[in-house]
């Protein structure tokens, strides 16, 4: 599974301005639900924040991959967000987070979920990929880098 299978330009956001982890997840949830009527923003937010309570998805190097399983989700859906200013995310390396890839996964999609996590880890684990996203001029450029 590739990033291009789950991400669209409409779900790529450059320079979101949020001050906290909670507000950031709230904004992204609302914004995804606005574009995809099958999702309820509040439900997405509650699921994402519930997952964070089990352990931060800030996986280091300024990257977070907030994710959750949802009954209303029929196919794996991704959203890529760059923050204007890095925020505290309780990340495992204690570094602030400025790049997020939000992942909404169907309830039963276990193998698919592992595959897409591996794909994201393969891309976001590379310093060059992260730098390109940080230096991208706009959402369009970020999207092109992400799906390349």
């Amino acid at each position: 599974m590739n990033i291009s299978d789950i991400l669209t330009l409409e779900r790529t956001y450059a320079d979101l301005n949020c001050v906290s982890k909670k507000r950031t997840l709230e904004s992204i949830s609302r914004w995804v639900a606005e574009q995809m009527p099958e999702f309820n923003g509040k439900e997405v937010f509650n699921a994402l924040i519930g997952r964070e309570k089990l352990g931060s998805t800030g996986f280091g190097e300024g990257i977070a991959i907030p994710h959750c399983r949802l009954r209303s989700c029929t196919q794996v859906t991704g959203a890529l967000v760059r923050l204007e200013t890095a925020i505290d995310f309780d990340a495992i390396d204690q570094q602030p987070v400025d790049l997020l890839f939000v992942l909404l996964v169907p309830q039963e999609a276990t193998d698919e979920h592992l595959q897409i996590l591996a794909t994201l880890a393969g891309s976001f684990g590379q310093a060059e990929f992260r730098e390109q996203l940080r230096n991208a001029a706009d959402a369009d450029a970020m999207y092109q880098i992400a799906i390349a």
Partner: protein
């Protein structure tokens, strides 16, 4: 050096939270710990690297531990994996 195989038995496999728990255990040890399959070994102290394995339920992984305290590190990792990453299934 210890080189053994361990089987992922929890239902959800080595997903993000399980990978984080694994790294939580490996990071406590100063020895070198590698995990992988089919000859592709990664640093078991890096969550991004561990997630690369996409190890689902039933996957047999190689675990290589080298250095001081290797036996304790090996035991801690196999206990976590054998205990379903404390997920209960």
């Amino acid at each position: 050096m210890i080189h053994e195989q361990i089987t992922i038995i929890n239902k959800l496999g080595l997903h993000a939270r399980a990978a984080a728990k694994l790294v939580g255990v490996t990071a406590k040890h100063s020895c070198q710990i590698q995990i992988g399959k089919e000859g592709k070994m990664v640093d078991a102290k890096s969550i991004m690297s561990v997630m690369l394995l996409a190890a689902s339920q039933g996957t047999i992984l190689d675990l290589k531990v080298t250095g001081e305290g290797a036996q304790q590190a090996f035991d801690d990792v196999s206990h976590l994996v054998g205990n379903y990453f404390d997920e209960g299934e």
